[in-house]
C-alpha cells in the first residue's frame, strides 16, 4: 500500500519537475510519515496523507519560488564579481601604459562592437541584475510566487548573465586588440580574469535554468518594476508622476538623468562640453533603445495579458 502510494507520489513529483535530491527528500519524508502513521494504527495513512498530485504541485510551487530566488542570489554574486573584475581591469589601464585609441586597434571595424561591448553591456547587466535582486528580495515576503512572476525573474537573470558574458568577451577582445600598446602583464591578467569569470557566469546560468524545472503555481500576472518598488512608488511626488501607467515617461526621465550624468562625466573627462554632449546623448539614446528592446523582458513595462 505504502509502496504503491510512494510510486504514485514519485511519478506526480516527476510530472511537475521535482526530481533528484529534492524528490528523494520528499519521498523519504513521506515514507517515514506513512510508516509512523501505520504503526500508530491510523486508518488508511495514504488517504490521510492526501492526493499525491496535490502534494506534488504544492512542493513544486514552493521549490520553484525558493530555487529561483536562490539562483538569483547566485547570479547576482557572479555579476558582482564580474563587475569588480571589470572595474579592476580598467583601473589598471593607466599603470599598463594608458588608454589606447579604440579605433586604432589591429582589427579594422572591431572598434564599434568593442565599444558597445565594453560600455553598454555592463550597464545592461547591472540594471537587469539589480532588477532581479529587487524582485527576489520582494519575494521574501510572499508565500509563493506565480509562474509568470518567476518567469520574469528568470528572464531578468538571463539578460544580466548574457550581458555580463558579452562584457567579458568584449574585454578579452579589447585586451587582445591592445597587445603591444599595453603592458603584457595587463593583457595576460585581463585574459586570465576573463577566463576565471566565465565559468562563474555559466554556473549561475545553470542554476537559473534548473530553477525553472519545478512547476510554479499558476498565480497572477508577472507584474513589473513598479510592483517591486511599491513602497517607493507610494511616495507622493513619485505617485503624482503616474509612472506605472506611463512607463515611457519613466524611460524618458531615466534617459534625461543618464544623459545629464554622461554629459557631466564626458565634459570632466575630456575637458570640453562638446565631448560631454556626445557621451550624454549616446547614453540617453542607448537607454531609450534598450528600454524599447528589453523593457518587457526586464519587467520595466508590463507584459500585455
Amino acid at each position: 500500500m505504502t509502496d504503491d502510494f510512494l510510486r504514485g507520489l514519485a511519478s506526480s513529483l516527476d510530472a511537475v519537475g521535482v526530481r533528484g535530491s529534492a524528490a528523494r527528500r520528499v519521498l523519504l519524508e513521506a515514507r517515514d510519515h506513512l510508516e509512523e502513521a501505520a504503526r500508530d494504527g491510523e486508518e488508511d495513512p495514504a488517504r490521510q496523507f492526501g492526493d499525491p498530485q496535490q502534494v506534488a504541485r504544492l512542493v513544486a510551487a514552493e521549490l520553484a519560488t525558493g530555487g529561483t530566488r536562490r539562483a538569483t542570489f547566485t547570479s547576482f554574486g557572479a555579476l558582482a564579481l564580474t563587475g569588480l573584475g571589470y572595474v579592476a581591469v580598467f583601473a589598471l589601464v593607466p599603470a599598463a601604459g594608458g588608454w589606447t585609441d579604440l579605433f586604432g586597434g589591429r582589427v579594422a571595424g572591431a572598434a564599434p562592437v568593442l565599444a558597445l561591448g565594453v560600455a553598454l553591456l555592463p550597464q545592461i547587466a547591472f540594471v537587469a541584475g539589480t532588477l532581479a535582486l529587487l524582485r527576489a528580495f520582494r519575494m521574501d515576503r510572499t508565500p509563493e510566487a506565480g509562474a509568470a512572476e518567476l518567469r520574469l525573474l528568470r528572464h531578468q537573470n538571463w539578460v544580466a548573465l548574457g550581458a555580463a558574458g558579452g562584457t567579458i568577451a568584449a574585454v578579452a577582445a579589447y585586451a587582445l586588440d591592445a597587445q603591444g600598446d599595453l603592458a603584457s602583464w595587463w593583457v595576460w591578467a585581463t585574459l586570465g580574469l576573463c577566463l576565471a569569470l566565465a565559468p562563474l557566469l555559466v554556473v549561475a546560468g545553470v542554476r537559473v535554468a534548473r530553477a525553472g524545472a519545478p512547476m510554479a503555481a499558476p498565480g497572477a500576472a508577472a507584474g513589473d518594476v513598479f510592483d517591486d518598488l511599491d513602497s517607493i512608488m507610494r511616495i507622493a511626488p513619485l505617485r503624482r508622476l503616474g509612472l506605472p501607467a506611463h512607463p515611457w515617461r519613466f524611460a524618458l526621465l531615466g534617459a534625461a538623468a543618464v544623459g545629464a550624468v554622461g554629459f557631466a562625466g564626458g565634459w570632466y573627462a575630456e575637458g570640453d562640453p562638446g565631448s560631454g554632449l556626445v557621451r550624454g546623448g549616446f547614453e540617453a539614446v542607448a537607454l531609450v533603445i534598450c528600454f524599447a528592446a528589453l523593457g518587457r523582458t526586464l519587467g520595466l513595462r508590463r507584459t500585455k495579458m
Partner: protein
Amino acid sequence: MQDSLKGHVDLLLLSVLGEEPTHGYGLVEALRTRSEGAFDLAEGTVYPALYRLERHGLVESSWVDGRTRRRRVYRLTRKGAAALRRERTAWDRYVNAMRAVLA
C-alpha cells in the same frame, strides 16, 4: 474550519515547533491532539508549508538517525522564535478584538 485553517498553518506549525523539535508526522499528530481533532489537515500538505518556513529562515531541519530509519527533524530558528512571538501577539490582539465585538 479547514478553509479558515489554511491561513494559519504557518503560525500553528511554528507554535508546535516552539515546544520541541519534531518530524513531519509528529507535527501533524501534535496539531490533531492539541486541537482535539478539529485541525485535521491533509497531512502531506504540511511538508510544502515546512519547506516554505525553511525558505524564510524560520525553521531549519536535518536528518536524524533513529532506531529503525532516518527521519527529517524540524526545529525553530532564532528568527522563527521571534516571528512566533510577534505572530502570537498579533493573534491575541485579533482574538480579543473579535471577542469584544461579538460579545
